[in-house]
Amino acid sequence: MYKVKILCIILLLFVAVQPLMAMDNSSRLEDQFKEYMNEIRMKVNKIDDPVEKRAMLNMTLQKIIRALDTVSTLESLSEKDQKAIAVIRSGFQDKYNELNGLNGFEKVADTDLNSFADYMLQDLEQARRMVSMSIAAFIIIILLIILIL
């Protein structure tokens, strides 16, 4: 009898969890990444000191670039994924350069840092830059950014 109950509970849980398992995992991860970037944006908006604001934005961009670099070194990655990652990386590198006035970019003014944080989030929200790469590569990148680095 006990075994039957356990079996029934397992089956019930299986049925209940199925919708979550069936969800489009890459979309959920993309959502998590957007939420993460929104948190950064809100934190930047709350900070008064522009030096601290800039430091937080720099730290975020460096973290993303580092994650992309880490994934691009994986041997199992296809050539297409590597190229897609390179395109995405160059977008974040541009933002880093602009924030710090490097490589011909005009440095983002202290008074514009909140707007720049908004821009970073909106750019991510509007463009599906990750669509060109495989789901596996995408998952690794997001996990590295959000959970590990």
Binding site: N38, E79, Y119
Partner: protein, 405 residues
């Protein structure tokens, strides 16, 4: 233990087992029914049927909720683009007089949740809504269900002689449409292609009886929808098109002005369409710091040269970049059984990594020819490489970097 006691215990256990197992079995049974069923289940939800008052405007929304639709407002609150758009479509349906509104809402494939929902409103009243539970159907089955639903309920189809002059509008909302017959990316999030959109327009237009262009206006509210490939596919079906030849924020092109769709009679179609585009542009520039590009395409003036613009995006393709193209779009292609009739847009390479750029950057782009009939509302991004760009041609070219190169 006595026999009675044993019997009592046994019956208790059995009844407990029954109480526990019956609902579980029911849940599992229903789950399997949903899982393996390829039928639709519908739920009727009607308002008071309105037979009074004329109906002379027809608005069709296709809201594709697949993929990630999350964005955040100024306060950091999470919003979902598809849900917001559905809300707005329902508002329009409840406020626009003399109008029938169809909403075809496509959701991601998930167990125990509807695959989509179809709504029909007429003269501000909800007439019908149907949930679709078809889990394993492809996009073409979904489109067929939309066309069938439309055919069954549209007053225009049911009573073709009721008005001599209907005005019809078609709005698509979703992520970037893939050009070509199959999506570039894998996964359910990117199923909808430009061909799918053209197929829907052709299907609906067939029901309209082929009066001219079919639709007074088609809005394609998706990133990079102002490419010659996408415009070329839908132009036979639309008098005017509003699209974005650049990335478009998920807050989308607003259809708010269609609450007062009747104003089109006073203003005229062109002015009304321009007003709607301007409204969408101003709203987006107020909300975002990224580039905002909203373009209006006047089909009658664009059709003569669209194949030439596309030739710019497709090296080696026939066309005459130096002048008007002899390879014209056949407007009668907006009808049933005409798939691929406009062959100028059917051969594009769609593998590799897409890269978009303003067609005007191509040295062969002829501004004197290729900006005819295109009105562009443009605001450059406040940051990034495009910050200094002052204008956009309204045409977005796409090239695919071959991953094997």
């Amino acid at each position: 233990m006595t026999v009675e006691k044993k019997r009592f215990l046994f019956s208790c256990t059995r009844s407990k087992l029954f109480v526990f197992a019956a609902p579980t079995a029911a849940v599992i049974l229903f789950s399997f029914l949903f899982l393996f069923s390829c039928e639709t289940q519908s739920a009727l939800k009607t308002g008071t049927p309105s037979t009074q008052g004329r109906t002379r405007y027809s608005i069709i929304y296709v809201i594709n909720g697949e993929g990630s639709n999350l964005y955040h407002d100024e306060e950091g609150r999470p919003l979902f683009a598809d849900v917001q758009m559905l809300k707005q479509a329902k508002e329009i349906a409840r406020e626009a007089s003399e109008t029938e509104v169809f909403i075809f809402y496509l959701k991601p494939v998930r167990l125990h949740q509807p695959r989509g929902k179809l709504y029909y409103y007429r003269n501000r009243l909800s007439k019908k809504s149907v949930k679709r539970y078809t889990l394993h159907s492809g996009i073409s089955e979904e489109i067929s269900s939309w066309l069938e639903f439309y055919k069954k309920h549209s007053l225009r189809f049911q009573e073709p002689g009721v008005n001599s002059r209907w005005r019809s509008f078609f709005f698509y909302f979703g992520h970037e449409l893939q050009e070509g017959k199959s999506p570039v990316s894998q996964g359910p999030a990117y199923l909808f292609t430009a061909d799918n959109l053209a197929h829907v327009l052709r299907g609906l237009n067939a029901d309209f009886g082929g009066d001219g262009y079919g639709f007074d206006l088609v809005i394609v509210s998706a990133c990079n929808s102002g490419t010659p490939g996408i415009i070329g596919r839908i132009i036979p079906c639309a008098r005017y098109i509003i699209a974005s030849p650049e990335p478009l924020h998920l807050s989308h092109i607003s259809t708010e002005p269609f609450k007062n769709v009747g104003e089109i009679e006073k203003k005229g179609t062109f002015q009304f369409v321009m007003g709607a585009a301007r409204y969408a542009f101003e709203r987006l520039t107020h909300m975002t710091n990224t580039a905002v590009t909203v373009a209006v395409y006047d089909s009658a003036r664009v059709i003569p040269y669209i194949a030439t613009v596309e030739a710019l995006c497709m090296p080696g393709k026939r066309g005459n970049p130096g002048g008007m193209s002899s390879e014209k779009i056949d407007r009668s292609a907006c009808g049933p059984g005409e798939e691929g009739k406009n062959s100028t847009v059917a051969e594009k390479k769609t593998s590799g990594i897409p890269e978009y750029y303003d067609c005007a950057e191509n040295p062969e782009f002829r501004e004197d020819v290729m900006d005819k009939g295109v009105t562009v509302f443009y605001r450059p991004p406040l940051f990034g490489r495009g910050k200094g760009k002052t204008e956009h041609s309204g045409w977005e070219c796409i090239r695919f970097t071959d991953a094997s190169n």
